[in-house]
């Protein structure tokens, strides 16, 4: 009924507007279409175009997408005009609605070489849907000289961190910068992990239905209300500027800033995972990776899969180039990470160690956007508005429980 009406209207539209010009179609129809979001580092676009060009089985047309990549990708996939191959994080809803195809046969031989936490982020119901391309991670950067001048040790618990942030706040310098929203967006996960909790348990239950969660979030509120946080900076947490300009003693930011920080501060900085809150918790770093995926509505699924296998499983040289020649990423494959010279020393080596020992998936496939919104809203209200943490979290818990029930029954 619905589909017939839509069909009728659509064909009427076609007839009506056919006079406006001939349909030129989309490209030559021969090439596989591959999408990337716009990477900020110069040279990445040229690199991925070079990889695509050197594939000799079928031509591949690379499309570079600035702006709101997620909305654009979603809209295109839904309308059936999407690319054959694209990069994305994995969401369980994409699997359940058959938007993407499983890639277990693509990754088969190399499966054990991929870092387990990363691959888990691209796995739903035991099947792999994305081949991880490059690992990004976040961690805590601190100024060694400022800590030394204040006679402080790098914090190993959350309480030490709060204390250090307070003590290091003086004059024009703030203790910590964790985003212009006071850390609501980026520290919600680390806060849970610091108390031994998580977003969702492996048994598909709510992972933070625990009084400890309120305590962990409460520490973020303490940070905010102590005045030790930098707020409203020109550039947000993902840029190193506040840290390199000496506006703060610590900043929560990403691995990608290491080259810029090194350039500005030389060796006067160290990196840490987010510390533990108590003995139940562990230090953590959030990690995530875009994975290469194949559109289930593509008319050439086999060719697309073969291309993904060639580029992201077989061509280790390209994967190494992609991860290390432009920005600063960790190759998701252990064999590549181990031999990368850039990652052997200093802060980068620390980061590699954190990813091995402390990694937590920043965006697991079954942590849906509805869940994330309700949890982040709760954390925001606690941090910035001083709302009672237990009541706010209770609302989020019930929302997440509903969502999980819907997904897993």
């Amino acid at each position: 009924m619905i589909s017939r009406r839509r069909l009728l209207s659509a064909s009427a539209a076609t007839v009506l507007l056919a006079a406006c010009g001939s349909n030129t179609g989309r490209g030559n129809g021969q090439a596989l279409r591959q999408w990337y979001h716009a990477y900020g580092e110069p040279g990445v676009q040229q690199a991925v175009e070079r990889y695509a060009k050197s594939y000799d089985k079928v031509p591949v047309e690379v499309q570079w997408n600035p702006g709101d990549y997620e909305s654009k990708l979603a809209t295109s996939l839904l309308s059936g005009t999407g690319p054959d191959v694209f990069e994305s994080t994995l969401q369980i809803s994409a699997v359940r609605s058959n938007q993407i195809v499983a890639l277990d046969d693509v990754i088969s031989s190399a499966r054990d070489d991929f870092t387990a936490t990363i691959l888990a982020g691209h796995t739903v119901d035991g099947k792999v849907y994305g081949v991880p391309q490059a690992v990004d991670m976040q961690m805590l950067f601190y100024r060694k000289s400022m800590f030394a001048a204040a006679g402080l040790q790098p914090p190993s618990t959350v309480d030490e961190l709060v204390e250090a942030a307070r003590k290091l706040t003086s004059g024009g310098v703030k203790g910590l910068f964790a985003g212009n929203d006071g850390g609501a967006a980026v520290l919600g996960g680390p806060a849970l992990w610091s108390a031994g909790l998580d977003y969702v348990t492996p048994e598909h239950q709510v992972g933070f239905d625990d009084p400890l969660a309120a305590q962990a979030i409460g520490k973020l509120r303490d940070l905010y209300s102590s005045g030790a946080l930098l707020l409203g900076a020109v550039k947000d947490w993902a840029e190193p500027d506040a840290f390199t300009q000496g506006l703060v003693a610590m900043q929560w930011t990403g691995l990608w800033t290491v080259p810029a920080v090194q350039k500005a501060l030389g060796d006067d900085f160290g990196v840490l995972p987010w510390p533990r809150l108590n003995d139940a918790g562990r230090p953590s770093v959030p990690v995530g990776a875009f994975g290469a995926m194949v559109n289930a509505k593509s008319s050439r699924i086999d060719e697309a899969k073969e291309f993904v296998r060639w580029l992201w499983v077989e061509r280790a040289d390209y994967q190494e180039d992609f991860n290390l020649s432009y920005g600063f990423h960790i190759p998701p494959r252990a064999s590549l990470a181990a031999k990368a010279a850039k990652l052997q020393s200093g802060q980068a080596a620390d980061a590699v160690k954190f990813v091995r020992d402390n990694a937590k998936s920043s965006n697991p496939p079954d942590w849906t956007s509805a869940m994330r919104t309700s949890y982040t809203d709760a954390v925001s209200r606690v941090i910035r508005d001083g709302a009672p943490a237990d009541a706010e979290l209770r609302t989020a818990v019930s929302k997440v429980r509903d969502e999980l029930k819907r997904i897993y029954g």
Partner: protein, 270 residues
């Protein structure tokens, strides 16, 4: 009293111009001057070489995207004026039993938020094969309820005497519209033309999704490359913003006389 009036005007005008100054100032400053140190009204010197940097940045096809925006905005303005003026005239002047029904259907579209009907619209347009195609950029935006509504209100107030004269000369509705009504409404067409040009030039989400190939980017899409870049380049962003609004400011200053007269003639009646 008169002095007070001018004082109030000058103060308000000053406040209104500050953001424009900031756009230009930031566009011609060094990155470090924008993000750090103390705030200065005037940067140490204006860095005109920022223009070279902007126009030679391979990631941002500034010239190409300005041309695209111009083509899209001109076509959309002309098309919107054509379809909406015809509809407005028909609704205002041609007695027809269901004319009110059609009118309410047009007004109702003003209240419906486009953000959520966005995806179905895209599916319709992609069914027509118009993705990454000039038609997809231009045609769906031609049917503006707002513009048709304003045209109707205007034509309601159009002097009957002029049309009567045409009728006596044996012209039908069609002839009257083209030979009498349109030539006597240039100001209003100019006014609504400017408004649709600006709206078209500044739209973002639709061109982002529909203009997928880099060759089809409009200037707003090009601007967004700065916002999504891994390291935000603030001075280049502001300079690009300054460049992107320049054509509009020129259009405004050149046409503002028509614009005000045109709006004055609208006879908007709630």
């Amino acid at each position: 009293m008169k002095a007070l009036r001018y004082l109030a005007l000058w103060v308000s005008a000053g406040l209104f111009l500050v953001p424009f100054y900031l756009i230009v100032r930031n566009g011609l400053a060094l990155e470090s001057e924008i993000t750090a140190t103390s705030w200065t009204l005037f940067p140490a010197s204006f860095h005109w070489e920022n223009f070279t940097e902007l126009f030679s940045d391979p990631a941002v096809p500034m010239v190409r995207s300005m041309v695209n925006s111009l083509v899209v905005a001109v076509l959309q303005t002309v098309g919107q004026l054509l379809f909406c003026s015809l509809a407005g005239y028909g609704l205002a002047r041609i007695p027809y039993r269901y004319s009110n029904v059609v009118f309410y259907a047009v007004v109702a579209t003003l209240m419906i938020p486009a953000a959520v009907t966005f995806v179905p619209t895209f599916v319709v347009v992609s069914t027509l094969g118009w993705v990454s195609d000039l038609r997809g950029l231009v045609i769906p935006g031609l049917f503006s309820g707002f513009t048709a509504f304003l045209f109707r209100q205007y034509f309601l107030n159009f002097p009957h005497e002029l049309e009567e004269a045409a009728r006596i000369d044996g012209l039908g509705h069609w002839g009257t519209f083209w030979r009498i009504v349109v030539p006597n409404s240039r100001g209003f067409f100019a006014a609504l033309g400017v408004i649709s040009f600006v709206t078209s030039w500044n739209q973002f989400l639709w061109p982002l999704v529909i203009a997928q190939d880099q060759d089809a980017w409009t200037v707003q899409v090009a601007l967004s490359t700065f916002l999504t870049a891994q390291s935000l380049n603030v001075h280049e962003l502001f300079l690009a913003a300054a460049v992107s609004i320049t054509p509009l400011v020129i259009v405004f200053v050149a046409l503002q006389r028509f614009l005000v007269r045109g709006v004055t003639e609208t006879g908007i009646k709630g």
